[in-house]
């Protein structure tokens, strides 16, 4: 019996299929090459681009970090105008692409979405089959509305039990990657089940699906429930149909975890699989980064603000807070969270991918260490090749910012 991936892709694991795509997303880094390739196709008339399916979001190097990135953002803007793309998100009106795709109602259960960004797998948290592609594939899909896929095998992850305080979706996914490794799900689709997943808020589920790619997965899908349907009410674009696996679905492997045994977890440099409990680390930090498509949502900011309220960021630490979208930013202002961050001595900026990929707004110098809510800690990921990134949840980042070293938040409790 078919898994969710097999149902959405309409094929059996191992088959190569061609599917109709619901949406194709590109950003300022991947979008320009995609439009260049699209123009190489020399479609006549040029208006043949499937513009209603294309979503263009400026997020990586914006606000423009230098002249080269300004030229790139301008080129993307010009392409979006030339092809009359209505789904175009300029700075000030959007944010980090995956948060925008979710907030703007593009992501929904049962849909097949591709994006020229590896964390496109985030929408699996809403029951979509969504996956990252290259610019050439995005261009082909812009032209034809379709793309080829090899239907993946599916691994089932079952997480039962109750999570402890300060343990979040981030810890679940880091725990899993620490167990199966960064190639543990190579070419495969993941599906998540169990009481801990059912109890989890949508933002925490998005963190899990977001990092599916860090285990090599093609997709990380969570069967949609009322939390997803309630979120989508009144804001989703068009109709959607939830897709579920059959009870007799064939999984290649099944992994089971006890939620109560998962602790606040940190992935040490230079791999997301290099995980240890936060409490076991004694690492002095120079920077604490809260943001990104992984952990820059309002729920993440709330968790960090609760810890930072009335406290100060350590004098040896720069704390940087980057809400994942303008909507998140605005809500954080309304809820008084931004005031808490500012009062604590953190730097707050508008949404951008920024320092997560070593772009700008918080790049690291030689030898510096950053504890970060982002998704990758590869060599030189956030700056100099001899800088280090430690991946953690927002509570760990906030607690570490106060203490000046990587800290399990429970250590702060009286």
């Amino acid at each position: 019996m078919p898994t969710i991936a097999e149902k959405i892709l309409c094929g059996k694991a191992g088959e190569i299929v061609e599917c109709e795509i619901d949406y194709i997303m590109v950003n300022d880094v991947t979008g320009v090459p995609a439009f260049e390739v699209f123009e190489e196709l020399e479609l006549e008339p040029a208006g043949e681009l499937k513009r209603e399916k294309v979503v263009v979001i400026q997020d990586h190097y914006v606000p423009n970090k230098d002249v080269d990135s300004a030229e790139q953002a301008k080129a993307l803007r010009d392409y979006a105008r030339r092809y009359g793309i209505g789904n175009y998100y300029e700075i000030g009106k959007g944010g980090v692409c995956h948060q925008v795709m979710i907030e703007e109602g593009f992501a929904a259960p049962g849909r097949l979405i591709i994006g020229a960004d590896s964390h496109t797998c985030s929408y699996g948290a809403l029951g979509a089959f969504s996956t990252g592609v290259g610019s050439t594939e995005a261009a082909a899909a812009m032209a034809t509305g379709r793309l080829w896929f090899k239907v993946p095998e599916t691994q089932k992850f079952v997480i039962n039990g109750e999570l402890k305080r300060y343990v979040m979706g981030k810890d679940i996914v880091l725990h899993i990657i620490g167990d199966i490794g960064v190639s543990g799900s190579l070419y495969k689709s993941q599906e998540f089940y169990g009481t801990a997943i059912e109890d989890l808020s949508l933002p925490d589920r998005i963190t899990i699906s977001n990092m599916a790619v860090e285990a090599g997965a093609k997709a990380g899908i969570i069967p949609p429930d009322d939390k997803v349907f309630d979120f989508l009410r009144d804001m989703v674009r068009g109709e959607y149909k939830a897709v579920y696996a059959d009870t007799e679905s064939e999984y290649e492997e099944v992994f089971e975890y006890d939620a109560s045994e998962i602790v606040p977890t940190v992935a040490k440099p230079f791999s997301p699989e290099n995980t240890v409990p936060a409490s076991e680390l004694d690492v002095i930090i120079d920077q604490a980064y809260l943001g990104s498509c992984t952990n820059g949502r309002i729920a993440d900011l709330r968790v960090a603000a609760e810890i930072l309220k009335g406290k100060s960021v350590n004098r040896e630490v720069r704390m940087i807070v980057v809400p994942a979208s303008e909507k998140v930013f605005e809500q954080a202002i309304e809820e008084g969270l931004i005031k808490i961050f500012l009062d604590a001595g953190a730097f707050v900026s508008g949404p951008t991918c920024g320092a997560c990929l070593g772009g700008h707004m918080g790049v690291l110098a030689k030898g510096e260490r950053c504890v970060s809510t982002t998704n990758r800690n590869f060599i030189g990921r956030m700056g100099h090749k001899d800088s280090e990134v430690y991946l953690a949840n927002p509570a760990v980042v906030a607690a570490s910012a106060i203490k000046g070293r990587i800290t399990d938040p429970s250590e702060l409790e009286p």
């Binding site: 190569i16 880094v29 991947t30 320009v32 090459p33 260049e36 390739v37 190489e40 196709l41 020399e42 990586h60 190097y61 080269d68 990135s69 030229e71 790139q72 994006g115 020229a116 960004d117 590896s118 496109t120 990252g132 592609v133 290259g134 610019s135 050439t136 594939e137 261009a139 082909a140 032209a143 034809t144 080829w148 960064v182 190639s183 190579l186 070419y187 790619v213 090599g216 093609k218 791999s271 990929l357 070593g358 772009g359 990758r376 590869f378 060599i379 030189g380 990921r381 090749k385």
Partner: protein, 157 residues
């Protein structure tokens, strides 16, 4: 032809660091390939060279700039135990040859090798060994033979 050997889990940040993602031009990208981890590579790499690596080559970001940077320097083929999936797809789609083969422990830098894609054989002339590999599925071979996805679509028009 020179062999460039890399390890396991070579990520796309190593292949082309993010600060160079301000062009999609393969030749320009090639001048920055492996800039942080192996600075001599971009100076010394030559048309026809081959990369040999372990598991999960090309993991991380979806940046097509990574396979483009390799193609731009004339890398004729990447041989790895396994590839990250977006890198794998993008390479095939832009016409960069990949071989999935467990030869990481057999091929050293300095070895002379010959590849027959049709027969699915790598000949190591230095060690006098032969390694078989499974050729790509027919659909992907067609894409590569067309010179990538765009030429394939053009031919179908």
């Amino acid at each position: 032809m020179r062999i460039w050997k890399f390890g396991h889990n070579v990520d796309t940040d190593q292949i082309i660091p993010a600060e160079y993602l301000i062009t999609g031009d393969a030749k320009k990208l090639a001048t920055h390939a492996f800039a942080k981890v192996r600075p001599e590579y971009s100076r010394e790499v030559k048309e026809g060279d081959v990369i040999v690596a372990g598991e999960n080559f090309g993991c991380g970001s979806s940046r097509e700039h990574a396979p483009r940077a390799l193609l731009g320097a004339g890398i004729s083929c990447v041989i790895a135990k396994s590839f990250a999936r977006i890198f794998f797809r993008s390479s095939i789609n832009i016409g960069l040859h990949l071989i999935e083969a467990d030869v990481f422990d057999r091929i050293e830098e300095g070895d002379e090798i010959e590849i027959s894609f049709e027969a699915g054989v790598i000949k190591n002339n230095t060690k006098k060994e032969e390694y078989k590999f499974k050729p790509l599925p027919e659909f992907m071979r067609k894409l590569l033979e067309s010179g990538g996805l765009i030429n394939y679509i053009k031919k179908q028009k």
